[in-house]
Point group: C2
Chain length 163, copies 2
Amino acid sequence: MIDGFWFPFFVFLGACGAAAATGAMFPPGRWYVQLNKPVWVPPNWLFPVAWSSIYLLISFAGARIVHLEGSGVALMFWALQIAFNTLWTPIFFGLRHFRASLIVMAFLWLSVSSAMLAHFYVDVYAGLAFVPYFLWVSVAGMLNIAMYRLNPNIKPLKPADLD
Amino acid sequence: MIDGFWFPFFVFLGACGAAAATGAMFPPGRWYVQLNKPVWVPPNWLFPVAWSSIYLLISFAGARIVHLEGSGVALMFWALQIAFNTLWTPIFFGLRHFRASLIVMAFLWLSVSSAMLAHFYVDVYAGLAFVPYFLWVSVAGMLNIAMYRLNPNIKPLKPADLD
């Protein structure tokens, strides 16, 4: 079972589920609606579509290489990107901490770039499956920078101090 | 460089850094202080000490096996555990969503157990390095259940609805 494709595919998809759960648990809401956004901001419906596709693709990538010799470094970067991916949403939507979200985004972009290259090194289809993620996270990074610049007066929340 | 021990060690430690950042960004604060806790709750100073030790140990485990043949499944579970680890703190301290935090904790416990077994299968020292994590997350799970039972009236926060 564990030697095949589907068991690893669903384990990787489970890890993506942790990242996706942040989107469900920390939804944009009316705070996000009233933020200043650049004219080129993607439409709202595109975000869940893009992320769902990306999670399926990178689960495919992981499952494709998990049993191949020399896949360790690629899987290490797979682990790195999912940790930073899971971190971003709570920082941005949960804390509204724009500066910290930019730092996390920079690490996410670096980890996705590294994961894409490392997957290409092991298997071309696995590498290709990371390309949409790389492109999307590049757009997300530019959007994060634009939001930071266009909303200079956002105060981070401090949930620990709320009653 | 990437073929040695230290480069992978620091990449895994970077992934742990994403999980650790949730502890710094979503600190317990006074809300946590006034919660009902079981008599056996570990002292506050033990939490950062335990987590720092665990992060060093599992980074060692990952770096030890990353270049070994057949380490793919273990690294897959390494990725799974760090995603759920990063998710737990924002759900508990950021949203105060006890029920969701219990579900995340169950997945975290399963993923740490699987990672420990899979690391033992590849390398005994890597497996041993996961044992303190397994024990600690078992305690954390029992603590999470106790907190849920002892604080039945906690209302989850909805950061999206705050102004």
